[in-house]
Every structure is written in C-alpha cells, then in structure tokens.
C-alpha cells in the first residue's frame, strides 16, 4: 500500500506544484522589486496561473478525463469535478490579480508578499478541491485560512483592517476546532479518514449515533467557512474591514473551495447520512437566504451590502444540496457563476476608488451615469446579475437551483427562496437608482489604467456572454457530479 513516489504520482499534482513554485518565486522577487516595478510580480503570478491552467486542461483532455485517479496513498484525487473547479479558480484568480494591483498602487501599500500570500491561499484552495483524506482537506483549509488572515490584516496601519483580522482569526480558529472535533468523532466511529473508506464504512454501519454526532460539528465548520447563517457573523465585518483587494479575493475563489469541501465531506464521504444532513442544510440555507437579504436592506456601505448579499447567495447554493445529485450540479453551476459575479462587483469598487479615496459608500455611486456612462452600464450588468434579473447569468443560476429542488418536491422552500430573492432585489435596484437617477456629488474621474478597465468590462460583459455557454457549463457540472 505504501508505494514509493514516482512520476505517475507527481504529474497529476503538477498544477499544485506550479502554483507553489510561483508563490516562492514571487516571494523572492518581491524583495528586489520596488512598488513602481510591481507589474513584474503580477506578471509572474499570472504566468504561473496560466501554466497551471494549461497543465490542468491537458490532464483534463487526456485519456483519464472521466476516470478518478487517487494518488499519494489516498490523500489526493484528480477527478472531473476537481478539474472543472480548478479551471474556474484560475479564471477568477486572474481577475483578482489584475484588480488588486490597481488597488494596492492607489493605496500605496504594494508589496510582493501580498501576491505570494494570495498564491499560497490559492494552493490551499486547490488542495481543498482535490483532497481525498480528512487530514489533507483540513490542511488545505488551514493553508487558505492562514493566508486569508494575513491578507485581511495586510493594511496594518488601518485599525479597521486589524480589528476585522482579529475577529476573523478567533472565529476561524473556533470553527476549525469544531471541524476537527467532528472529524475525530467520525474517525472514532469508522476508524479511517480516507473519503471513500469512510463512505464504505458509513454505508455498512447500523449505529449512526456517533456518526451523526460528528456530522453536526463538521457541518458547523463547513457552514462557518462558507459564511452561511447562523455562522455568518464574521462575514460583514471582515468584508468591510479588509482592504478591498483582499475582500475581492476572499469573496470569490474560496467560495468555490468551500463548495468542493462540502461536496467531499458531505456528499462523498457521509453520503450514507444524507437524511440526517439534508434537514440541517435546508435550515442553514433558508436562514442564510432570509438573514442575508433582510440585513442587506439597511446597509449603506457597499462592501457590507455585498457581504450580506454573499450570505444569501451561499444560502441559494446550499439549497441545491437538498436536491440530491441534480442539486449538487446546480449548486456547482451556481457557485462558479457567483464567483465570477462577485469578483466583478468588487472590481468595480476598486476601479471607482482612487488615490486617498475609497468608493465604499452607496452614495459614492451617485450619478455614475453622468460621469462615466460605460461603467455605469457595467455596474448595472453586475448588480442586475447578482439580483437575478433575466436575461443575465445570475437569473439562470438561480433558476437551475430552484428547478432542481422543485423536481424533488420541495415547493415551500423554493417559494420562500423566491420571495426573499425578490425582497433582495430592492437593494440591488437601490444601487441602480442611485447610479442613474441621482445627481453626482463629485466629478471624480476614473483613473484606472486601460488594462484594468478593459478586463473589468470583459468581466462584466461575461454576465451576458456566459449565456451562450450555459448548456455546456451545465453539462460539465452534471458530468462532474456523476463521475464523483
């Protein structure tokens, strides 16, 4: 069983190795580059991500496309779902790198470590996607969390940033403790930590008492990492307090990782307890949708507003978990499109900010149409997509999830979700109203560079452009869940 490592083991993990190497290179390069020449660091990071994407795609296209390769003595898995999610993460991270460069320069806090930490966090994300053992999954989670804590505290002279980092760190440590406690209970019951072995043992056992006891704690940990209600307290504070470049990161790619984490733990290893966790998930999902949308109504800080909107989006994503196999595919579709949406939303805040000014109040968007009609339209696309107006991608992702649970006969839950999505569209409409019908308070020009502007436009137009690819993305998601 304990085989010696060979090339056949190392090649499927090549994307992870590339990201790790890039992180180390950026770390060292950062020592020798001044903030004016910081473009080199961004370029290196982007090249690394592109290389990782090429290797992932190559494996994906290769002979093993639909087979599952379990490597490193059952610690790592390369499967269809992992490939698709990783490619989504690469896409999101490219946007994150480009937007954050702009922000860090404007705020005069450009340092090489920022990109190195983001790449380390990204490595954690990839491990969370591909972990096949509770230990590996947990280590991936910690790698991501540790990088995120540092990134939140990055602007160290800013008291708000420090305070939110402290909250994030303490609450995150408690959640990790809960998760580990749950995992140790599961280990006590089945005597193994490898996902498929756990699944086998769970299906064979009659006494599920200890298992469901552990399950509750695991779910607390997962819900915390997703930022789902009632474990959502950290989300608004961290989103608001962190530098926007960090918020951009923690609101997008880690959500994809948390989805994969939930799939691996709940749907793959504890599938035998589906009846037990289905109830808990449905309560968490409903609470998230309700709390997220209601609390967002009274926010005037746009970062905080997006934070509550994230909670409701996560609720929608978790709703899919109630619906079994079709539901998982719908959730996967939802989380990928949401990550692309969220990154565009925070990108917009970055592009409107400039030296010494942070566009984080809703009133900062007043009269954007007069100042810059093109970016007002881009913001309209992003916000309308988040609200779920047809014909944008956000509408279809909500539709897919709702269809999956209605097919299973959960009419009441679908009804509540729709009602609160409609209530939620109020605060999105408020942003649109402010942009188009209010008088501008400042005549601040958009100072961002051409590259950032064009990438952001592309990102926003994706909300429309992805419509063409809905059938193919959906079929990828379905295939990914079927080949789990």
């Amino acid at each position: 069983m304990n085989s010696i490592l060979g090339w056949s083991e190392l090649t499927p993990i090549l994307p992870e190795l590339i990201i790790l190497a890039t992180a180390c290179i950026v770390l060292v390069l950062g020592l020798f580059t001044s903030s004016e020449k910081g473009g080199l660091l961004v370029l290196t990071s982007i090249v690394g991500v592109v290389f990782a994407a090429i290797t992932t795609a190559k494996f994906h296209m290769g002979d093993h496309e639909l087979t599952r390769q379990v490597l490193f003595n059952g610690n790592f898995v390369r499967d269809y779902m992992g490939d698709i999610l990783k490619i989504a993460v690469y896409a999101v991270m490219l946007f994150v790198f480009i937007y954050s460069k702009q922000y860090l320069r404007d705020k005069n806090i450009f340092k090489g470590e920022f990109f190195a930490l983001m790449l380390f966090g990204m490595l954690g994300i990839m491990i969370m996607i591909s972990g096949y053992n509770y230990i590996t999954l947990y280590l991936g989670l910690e790698l991501l969390a540790l990088s995120s804590y540092a990134l939140v505290a990055y602007d160290r002279d800013n008291m708000q940033s420090n305070e939110s980092a402290m909250k994030y760190f303490i609450l995150g440590a408690i959640a990790s403790g809960m998760l580990l406690y749950g995992m140790s209970m599961i280990y006590g019951a089945v005597g193994t930590l490898q996902i498929d072995h756990v699944a086998l043992q769970v299906s064979n056992t009659n006494n599920t008492m200890l298992l469901s006891f552990g399950l509750v704690f695991i779910m607390v940990g997962v819900a915390f990492k997703l930022g789902a209600a009632p474990f959502h307290m950290w989300v608004p504070d961290v989103y608001q307090g962190a530098p926007t470049a960090t918020t951009l990161f923690i609101s997008s790619a880690p959500k994809i990782a948390a989805f994969a984490f939930a799939i691996r733990l709940l749907a793959q290893s504890l599938e035998g307890l589906f009846d037990n966790w289905q109830h808990i998930i449905s309560v968490i999902a409903m609470l998230s949708i309700i709390i997220g949308n209601l609390f967002a109504l009274q926010q005037d800080n746009i970062k905080r507003l997006f934070a509550y909107s994230t909670i409701s989006h996560i609720g929608f994503m978790l709703l899919g978990f109630v619906g079994g196999i079709d539901g998982y595919a719908a959730s996967m579709f939802y989380i990928i499109t949401y990550a692309l949406m969220s990154v565009a939303g925070f990108g917009m805040i970055i592009i409107l900010s400039c030296k010494g000014f942070e566009a984080e109040k809703i009133s900062d968007f007043k009269g954007l149409n007069q100042r810059n009609a093109w970016f007002a339209f881009m913001m309209l696309l992003i916000v309308a997509s988040m609200a779920g107006f047809p014909p944008l991608i956000g509408f279809f992702s909500k539709l897919v999830v709702l269809k999956a649970i209605v097919d299973q006969g959960y009419y009441v839950m679908a009804g509540i979700a729709v009602v609160f999505a409609v209530i939620g569209s109020f605060y999105y409409l408020k942003i649109i109203k402010v942009m188009y019908f209010d008088e501008s308070e400042s005549d601040q020009e958009i100072t961002a560079g051409f590259d950032v502007k064009s990438i952001l436009s592309f990102n926003a137009l994706l909300q429309l452009g992805l419509l063409l690819f809905i059938p193919s993305i959906l079929s990828y998601c379905i295939k990914a869940i079927e080949t789990l």
């Binding site: 304990n2 490193f72 610690n75 190195a116 380390f120 280590l139 505290a153």
Partner: protein, 215 residues
Amino acid sequence: MLEYLVSAEFYQIMLFYVYSFILLGAAMAVVTMRNSIYSALFLILSFFSAAALWLLLEAEFLALTLVLVYVGAVMVLFLFVIMMLDIKVKPNKGMSSYTKVGLFVALLMLVEMMMLLGKKLIPALPQDDLVKHIKGHSNVKEVAESLYTQYVLPFELASVILLVAIVAAILLTLRKRKDYNHVKPESQVHVKATNNRMRVVKMEAEKGNDIGGDS
C-alpha cells in the same frame, strides 16, 4: 473484584483518567489564568500530561519528542518572550456577564450531549483492547514510515503552512525604524569624487573689518 483492582489493566485505566483530568484542568487554567506566566506554566503541565497519555499508548518516541520539542524548546522561548514583554497583570474582577452566560451555555450543551450520547455511545465505540506492541517494536520506524510514505502529501502541506506563517508574521510585524543610522555599503560604493563627495558652496565674502571687532 479484588483481583481486578490489582490487575495491570486497572492501573492503566486509572492512570489514563488521572492524566486526562490533569490535562483538561491544566488546559482550562491556561485559558482562565490572568497572569500569562502562569498560563505558560500550565501549558507545560498539559504537555507533560499529554506525553504521559502517549506513553500509556506505548508511543514512547512521540511522548519524548513532545517533551523535548515543546517543553524543552518552544515553551522556554515562549516564557522568555513573555518575561521580556512588560505585561501588567490586571486584578481579577470576578466573572463578567459574558463568562456567566458562556458557562451556562457550555453546561447546557454538556448535559444535552450526555443525554444524547450517554447510553447509546458506549456500544457504538470500537471495543478494541489497548495497544500492545510486541517486544522490539520500533516506534521511530513506524512514525517515519507513515510520515514519509503514507502521509507524505499532508506532511509537505504542513511545511507550506509553516512557511505561510513565517511570511505572515514578518509581513505584519517588520517595521523599519525611523532613527535608523546604519550605513548602506552599496550606496557608499557608488560615491564619486567629483559630484558626490565634494560640495562647492558659494557664499559672500565677509568684510575684513568685522573680524575681532567689538564695535
């Protein structure tokens, strides 16, 4: 009954409970102590009790490493740092309202968990005997084997996590001092005789009369 009381199993189980209670009590004390020196000392106590528990499981190597590395190296450094810092110990003002609510919730959860699991848990636990190794069993070999083959990927990941911790700690704490007088050799080398070293200052010539004059 009496036979059981003098058997080896009984002593093993008794020792387990004694060390577990010390471990839990010490861990509680680490969190609740006002004086951070006491906290650190209680942490050492809890490491010792954990090491004793490992000894009961016949994992001698792990137990020794825990004592050597954590107690011997890490905690000594920790104590050193605490003593270097000028921390004022605040007097204990009794329980705050948070503590009371927290204790109440914790007790409630404990009772609930015991009611839920109590009787049903015991048959669910694996009924294996305590670990008994044959004579000549190598602990070190076993640890090495699982660490470097079975769990090589998590092992490497843990090293990456440590790297991130180092980077984060330096990023968040390193500050350049403003009154920093260190000379940079690389800029010294670049000094040129013509325009860097010598400075020609133009100033008006002073009148000769003023020199030494008191008027």
